[in-house]
């Protein structure tokens, strides 16, 4: 079996699966259960300023019969007394010394508060700190959370305060509620952070109740913007992660990937795009801590299949393949092919192409089964038919280059090549 142990800034964990700072990590009882289940580490739910939470707190987006495709919360940071949290962190560390214990922090917006909090937390023996610059609700109104993460200068200032006293590794967690995470990421790295983590939740309204007319979640007839997470946000998280992994400065520090990680496959994708490990929350909140078992096994088998011995063998491997649009090869051309032996005649490819794409599929009427074939000369190779086809490998895209040589859009313009005539 491959070695899936992780070393993040010297913080060791038996696997790269940490639980993100959130309700699953807000007390000893949960965290012990998580470690018993096999999680490699936790980021303890954010400590700092004293808050009070409301009821209800969560809402979700279901899709096509599947629950919690997206998840939203208006819960704030830990509302338990600081000293109880600190005591429990100590106790957990004693019971599970081989697991990573990171503590998420969000102090009041002044240097002394941060210094005081960091000292108290370091005193527990925790392995690292994560700065919560991302929480998009409740705390922002008080100039904390995302309000810090959205302003690179403030972020850098707070990181600098932290680095003045921190003796253990510091991870800065970034908010996605910005046009780009790079400016704050950059400012944090320049301010001295040892690592970055992303993404925090995305501000959202998950829906409106069609009977009460109140958006979700309902708190006594009112709602508030919440933070969106879960499988739905994964593509957005991957994009932000990639931009951090591509930037010459931000990529110098390790990245902890967060945002909709539910399976070992998701984790691998985050790691291929530059994350050294991943943090999970929504999937655990939906199914419990037991999901880590398959994450561990799946990652192991995949690494064995691919011949990877350790995590570093593939972390960041896909980053160089993420190019700019204008550098893509215009002469690369693919056309769809329908395997008639596999086709079940559902017509989904046909109607998608006919109504919304390039009218490249021919329909031969049959009762009850129509026959569908690709009009190769019309096909632009968009993938739509293949994406909507319900049968695995029924529609494949076959390479039919326009010309042997590589040519991008800039070359194309320079050479005065003809545009489409329809």
């Amino acid at each position: 079996m491959a070695d899936i142990s992780s070393d993040f800034l010297g913080i060791k964990s038996p696997n790269p699966f940490w639980l993100a700072s959130a309700p699953p990590t807000d007390k000893k009882l949960n965290v012990l259960r998580a470690f018993e289940a096999g999680w490699g580490g936790v980021v303890w739910k954010t400590l700092g300023s004293q808050v009070k939470n409301v009821s209800s707190r969560y809402s979700a987006v279901d899709y096509h019969g599947s629950r919690v495709m997206g998840f939203n919360n208006i819960e704030l940071i830990s509302d338990r007394p600081l000293d109880i949290n600190l005591r429990e962190i100590r106790e957990v560390l004693k019971e599970f010394p081989d697991r990573a214990m990171i503590v998420s922090l969000m102090a009041d917006n002044d240097r002394e508060s941060w210094h005081e909090l960091i000292k108290k937390v370091e005193d527990t023996g925790a392995h690292g700190l994560e700065l919560n610059f991302g929480c998009p609700h409740g705390m922002t109104e008080r100039g904390m959370g995302a309000a810090v993460g959205q302003d690179p200068e403030i972020a850098r200032m707070v990181v600098e305060w932290v680095m003045e006293v921190a003796t253990i590794p510091v991870i800065t967690k970034l908010t996605p509620n910005v046009h780009s995470v790079v400016p704050t990421g950059l400012a944090s790295v320049l301010g001295g952070t040892n690592a970055l983590s992303l993404i925090n939740t995305i501000q959202s309204v998950t829906g409106v109740d069609l009977d009460s007319f109140v958006p979700n979640p309902n708190v006594g007839g009112k709602s508030a913007f919440g933070g969106y997470c879960g499988p739905a946000v994964k593509p957005i998280a991957l994009k932000f992660l990639t931009t951090i992994a591509q930037n010459e400065i931000t990529r110098r520090v390790p990245i902890s990937g967060i945002g909709g990680v539910s399976t070992w496959k998701d984790a691998v994708e985050f790691m291929l795009l530059g994350a050294s490990n991943v943090q999970v929350c929504t999937a655990a909140m939906k199914h419990g801590f037991r999901i880590v078992e398959d994450m561990i096994e799946g990652l192991n088998y995949w690494m064995d299949d691919k011949g990877f011995k350790k995590l570093d063998d593939f972390i960041g491997k896909s980053v160089p393949t993420m190019s700019n649009w204008e550098d893509l090869d215009i002469n690369y051309h693919i056309v769809a092919n329908i395997n008639q032996d596999k086709c079940v005649h559902c017509g989904l490819c046909y109607i998608a192409c006919e109504d919304t794409s390039h009218q490249s599929i021919a329909l031969d009427y049959g009762k009850p089964y129509n026959k569908y074939t690709i009009k190769e000369e019309e096909c632009v190779g968009c993938n739509l038919c293949k994406l909507v086809c319900p049968v695995d490998n029924c529609i494949t895209m076959v390479e039919q280059r326009k010309a042997p040589e590589y040519m991008n859009w800039k070359d194309f313009q320079r050479l005065g090549m003809p545009l489409n005539d329809h």
Binding site: V344, C346, G347, I351, N370
Partner: protein, 446 residues
Amino acid sequence: MSITNYRLTTEQYAENFSDIHPPFENLTAALVEANRCIFCYDAPCMKSCPTSINVPKFIKQIATENIKGSAHTIFSSNIMGGGCSKVCPVEKLCEGACVYNLMEEEPIQIARLQRYSTEKAIQEKWPLFTRKPSNGKRVAVVGAGPAGLSCAHVLSREGIDVTIYEKEAKGGGLMTYGIAAYKVTPEFCEDEVQYILSLGGIEIKYNQELGKDISLAELQSQYDAVYLGIGVGLARQLAIPGEELDGVVDAISFIYDIRSKGYNQVKVGDKVAVIGMGMTAIDAATQAKRLGAKEVTMLYRRTQAEMPCTQVELDIAMLDGCKIVWLATPKEVLGADGKVKQLVCSITTLGEPDASGRRSPVDTGETITLEVDMVIKAAGQMPFEKLVAENVLENKYGKIVTDSQGVTSIAGVFAGGDCVNGGKEVVDAVQAGKDGATGILDFLGL
């Protein structure tokens, strides 16, 4: 051995005749199945429905929790979509064509989903249709079965005032009187008829039989058009010695009694032979067993490959413990004291294909004898040949000849359903009623 009623307790009857296809208990269950549907384009299920119900659309509407829209989609194509969801042989229609079959997966439970929406609509009496204001045209429909009701509903929606003449005391036709009780209950059939009538503009006159209480000529003179949906009724005779013995019954009246009298009133033998292997034969055999017969044997003169019923139906009979004897044709019923004692059958073999394309049975000369006290004949039904001929309607062996819009040889007289096709599914009759209505609207210039 004897033929008796009251064989079982009330609880046993209730259990034996409980719904064979239980409905979805709740929305969640229906949603799980609805969400399996991949929403095919130009869907094979829809093309395989004689009434062309837009199946992907109504299932999508369940998935979006637009149950009213779903019911409207179904009823727009098939006003008896509720009953059809219970009695259609979907394995050879919509569900048989579902693309999941081609993936070696279970097809979508289309009938069960259809039942979910339509039953809700009927129970809660959703007014999904409105009729245009009356235009003064009047049409008589003979027969309140699926063809007649379907025709009447379309016509009434167009503002025509419809009067239906029904020979029985209840509407629904064979849905009410001719189908196994574990598929559809008499109560549901009544509710379904009432739901159809709730549109308004349709009046049913019960206990009015064509050729007896009313005549075609009278109807022609009183109405702007006449639609005949008189079905088929007479059981095909075996024409063998002993057919007159006490204990020989026809499946149609056997099932009619079950449907109209109450289970404990219907007499059944200890050992029952059922002749035939169509849907009605299955309904008779399984219900004989469920009424408490100790042994039920089904006899068919051909083999399983040629049987008219579907495999699903055959499985019901076999799971009920009915014995099946292939390649046997009744030769003589033997009796004592006027009562059935034995059934003698010729053993057949398959010869050349006949007009239906199926290989025809040939007598081998050998026989088998079954000890039975009851013989149920389910060898097909005959059209009302005499009635049709008396009214000078062009016909083929009693089946009324029409074009695709139900137009008969007499101007202003239309026909459809079993009396034209010789006896098919309920869903075929519903479509025939729609086609006939189109023909009538054309005829009336509407």
